[in-house]
């Protein structure tokens, strides 16, 4: 849970950082931020490290893949495409069951799902 909380914290700050393009607004100086990521990455599983890489994607990379689904593997974009199902299949074909994080770059439109039944 501690790790999850840390990842969530890092993720939310990074999301904000990416959209605002300023570190000052989230009150983390750049040097502290690097140290924070280093410590955080040691606590994370391989899958969580890929998620952290996704959430801390450099702005230039984010601009390049804006509006696409990407599969992050070894900290970099391994596969990209218009559907996450397609990206997942291509990733599995190439890399098997290797650690990956598949996410949407930009403002994702919500998928429709059934109304919860209690």
């Amino acid at each position: 849970m501690k790790t999850n909380a840390l990842v969530s914290d890092v993720g939310s700050r990074l999301n904000y950082t990416v959209t605002s393009s300023t570190m000052a607004s989230v009150h983390i100086r750049a040097d502290e931020c690097n140290r924070f990521f280093l410590v955080a990455s040691r606590l994370l599983s391989p899958e969580e490290r890929e998620e952290l890489a996704f959430r801390s994607m450099p702005a230039t990379t984010a601009r390049h893949y804006y509006g696409k689904y990407v599969a992050i593997h070894n900290g970099a974009v391994a596969v990209s495409g218009d559907s996450d199902t397609g990206v997942a299949r291509e990733f599995v074909r190439t890399f098997g069951d290797a650690p990956v994080y598949i996410g949407y770059v930009g403002r994702e439109r919500a998928a429709y799902q059934v109304r919860p039944r209690q």
């Binding site: 899958e47 998620e51 599969a71 996450d84 199902t85 997942a88 299949r89 599995v92 074909r93 069951d97 650690p99 990956v100 994080y101 598949i102 996410g103 949407y104 994702e108 439109r109 919500a110 998928a111 429709y112 799902q113 059934v114 109304r115 919860p116 039944r117």
Partner: protein, 150 residues
């Protein structure tokens, strides 16, 4: 061809495309009841199935459940889904307990699978499943209607 079954949440009233699917990964096999839901963009499986098969999270997707609440992020997993003996490989499914009956979470088979090899025949109350990798699957003729703007 599998027949529609009584929907347990409306017994005797509503027939629905319901099936017991198998979720396979890592040498494990979990059977779970599922509704074939053409209104669902994606397939989802219960979280207990995720745990029992030891599935590793592969990402997140944003889901709008149309219940007035804001969209929420749900984890995704890659797994094989077997429906009526036909295997749909490496499907990126959502892991959530949002749908079920009588306290037991069910799976939803969404259009990511339905569009690959399932025909829902409402008037005859049955559905057919064809292997998406089979060369014998006839191509679906394009609709005569022009694309609609929404």
């Amino acid at each position: 061809m599998p027949a529609y079954l009584n929907a347990p949440w409306r017994p005797g009233v509503a027939l629905a495309p319901i099936a017991r699917i198998h979720v396979k990964k890592n040498g494990g096999d979990e059977a779970v009841m599922a509704l074939l839901d053409s209104g669902a963009d994606y397939t989802q499986i219960p979280t207990a199935t995720v745990t029992n098969l030891g599935l590793k999270k592969k990402g997140d997707r944003l889901v709008d459940r149309k219940d007035g609440l804001p969209p929420t992020s749900v984890p995704t997993y890659v797994t094989d889904i077997i429906l009526e003996g036909v295997t749909f490989r490496d499907v990126l499914v959502s892991g959530t307990d949002d749908f079920g009956f009588d306290g037991t979470p069910w799976a939803l088979v969404g259009r990511d699978i339905l569009n690959e090899g399932v025909i829902l025949d409402g008037p005859r109350k049955w559905f057919t499943v064809t292997d998406p990798s089979s060369a014998s699957v006839a191509p679906v003729p394009p609709s005569a209607r022009p694309p609609q703007a929404y």
